[in-house]
């Protein structure tokens, strides 16, 4: 009885699937897969190698400081970093006084101690990086109707995080002529910018890194566009995963201990079973 029922249920599901498959296959044979401009022109991020990569990775603090400088002098005009506090910067090699000075360079929302009215005050080490725009409406108004996303977690919020950020920043170009030939409707709209690394190829962010030497690095590194893009990508790896160093450093002893314990366990297993294997 139960097997007759199961046969019927089985036939029901398989028939429905065959029906879906048949219809889908016919449509597919007739129409094929529509080619989209994204599938034809979107590019996979370029390779980027950072000191923090891999199980032995460790942040290059010098590079993080350079990246921070790029963020502060360029990106901070539009992008917030709301999960990072100024005090966190100590982890990338700034001392207390430097952190205080950096914080004081930002204006954060405050209250007038006498009247209670909202105002702004210089930041303290305990403050978080402030929002560059009063609200999303202001952000949209200033950015061709797009809100610049918060960058704190950016390198974890995109596939190939750091490489993606690096590629995006260095990937701006003119729209290829063949693109317009094959997809005449796909012309980059007014106010957007063509970038093959962006998911839909056109984004509202104007190229932020426009000239070599846009920032002046204190450590003498030449601030080429490529270098600045790498440095800020490295910095954003840190903002997204500040505990990366500690994680890697903890991982090895843990694995070492587990390996040791497992080998001991295996040897005990062999010893205890030795005579059972024979009779």
């Amino acid at each position: 009885m139960i097997r007759i029922l199961s046969l019927l249920v089985g036939l029901f599901f398989t028939a429905a699937l065959a029906w879906s498959f048949g219809n889908g296959a016919v449509n597919f044979a007739r129409e094929g897969k529509p080619a989209t401009v994204e599938s034809a022109f979107h590019e996979h991020p370029k390779a980027l190698h950072l000191a923090s990569d891999g199980p032995f990775g460790k942040f290059d603090k010098q590079q993080l400081q350079r990246g921070f400088q790029v963020y502060k002098e360029v990106c901070a005009a539009c992008h917030s970093l709301r999960l990072v506090a100024f005090r966190d910067l100590k982890a990338i090699g700034y001392n207390d006084d430097e952190v205080k000075a950096i914080a004081a360079g930002f204006n954060v929302p405050g209250l007038d101690p006498n009247t209670g009215e909202a105002n702004t005050r210089p930041g303290l080490a305990t403050d978080y990086f402030p929002m560059p725009f009063a609200n999303d409406i202001a952000a949209r108004a200033a950015n061709n109707n797009a809100v610049p996303p918060d960058l704190s977690l950016m390198t974890k919020a995109r596939h190939n995080g750091a490489a993606y950020v690096y590629s995006l920043l260095t990937g701006y170009q003119d729209q290829p002529a063949e693109l317009l030939k094959t997809f005449p409707d796909a012309k980059t709209p007014q106010g957007l910018h063509y970038n093959p690394y962006f998911a839909n190829l056109n984004l509202a962010m104007a190229p932020p890194l426009t000239a070599d030497g846009q920032v002046t690095y204190g450590d003498g590194t030449k601030a080429t566009k490529d270098q600045m893009a790498k440095d800020v990508a490295a910095f954003l790896v840190w903002t997204a995963e500040p505990k990366l160093d500690k994680r890697n450093q903890t991982g090895w002893p843990v694995l070492g201990f587990l390996l040791f314990a497992t080998i001991l366990g295996y040897l005990s297993y062999r010893t205890i079973w030795a005579e059972k294997k024979k009779h």
Binding site: F13, S20, F28, A157, A240, W273
Partner: protein, 427 residues
Amino acid sequence: MSFPWANEYKPSHPFMQWMDEKLPLPRFVYNAIGAGYPVPRNLNYWWNFGILALVCLTLQIVTGIVLAMHYAANAGVAFDSVEHIMRDVNWGWLMRYAHANGASAFFVVIYIHIFRGFFYGSYKAPREMVWLLGVVIFLLMMATAFMGYVLPWGQMSFWGAKVITGLFGAIPLVGEPIQQWLLGGFAPDNAALNRFFSLHYLLPFVIIGVVVLHIWALHIPGSSNPTGVEVKTESDTVPFHPYFIVKDGWAVGAFLFLYCAVLFFAPNMLGHPDNYIPANPMSTPAHIVPEWYFWPFYAILRAFTFDFFFIPAKLMGVLAMFGSILIWFFLPWLDKSPVRSGHYRPTFRKFFWFGLIPTMLVLFYCGGAPAEEPYVMFSQIASLYYFAHFLIILPIVSSIERPDPLPFSITEAVLGHDDKAALGTTA
């Protein structure tokens, strides 16, 4: 359970004797996972995964309780409270990564545990109840994992919750009210987040309860084994302690090694980047995908793309998705072959290795891929085989197949001869 030759618990210390009279807990442990529990001597490594599942469950509960001390189940702050755990709580990043990857590890282990059962016919009499409780555990695990994934309140949390509760919307007439009742609103929001948190904390303890029943039910007939031949004499078994304590022990070590390698060096490998974007009801992600362990069932859900007579495609998909697991409940009665182990079932074995396993791999792959051709066609063929395998092929194969000869006993299978059993000794 006990075989007559099981070692008996004999407390020697006066305190243990006193304890044994008042509350025989040590005796219970001795008979459950100690020297008092005889286990088939020929269990292979696939039989380690039950204990590994217990390890995972413990790990999830411990890390989960710590996380709950710092997490805030409120749609306004949930995302940031998770980042607070990652950044400011001492070792918070470790707890969170351990819990997130622990869920994946748990499912890896459970899938192996279940497929062990499929191959070795562990679901057959006298272990039907063990199997049924196992399927209940699996369903509870899926519910727990689904609700857990909503808690960080990222983009995938939100849209996953919306899509999955939306499935109930496919039920005719009452679907939409049910969906609203589940969510406590028209879309996932604070009400949904709070109840998911409450249930996510509750269900693991329900799972513990069902696991206790699962193991209780197992200990009545005792474990099966790779030959599928039942235990006959004492030489077929070894006491759980020390033999399986050491075998499980080193397996747990090896498992933790692999788990920690992922946890420390690739903790986001199995996650989706979109869940690091705070939930935003106004912006739909390009591809909404659940966590990897749901992919086979998600592929089945999406395989139904055309209405079947008067049944809308979406409803068919929902029925099939739930049905694909519910049919496991009937497995003990669909597969009537008296031979348990796939080792001695040539036809069954072919369908298992060349049918079911590739099908599951295709479903895994397609469930994570975008809902485009050719993936949809692949998942349709695979889903078709999936249902055919359990509902049509297994019942037919089990009645027409001619099994290979079985060894006389476990001892014979291990040593090549079994003198005692050959003499006709039965106990």
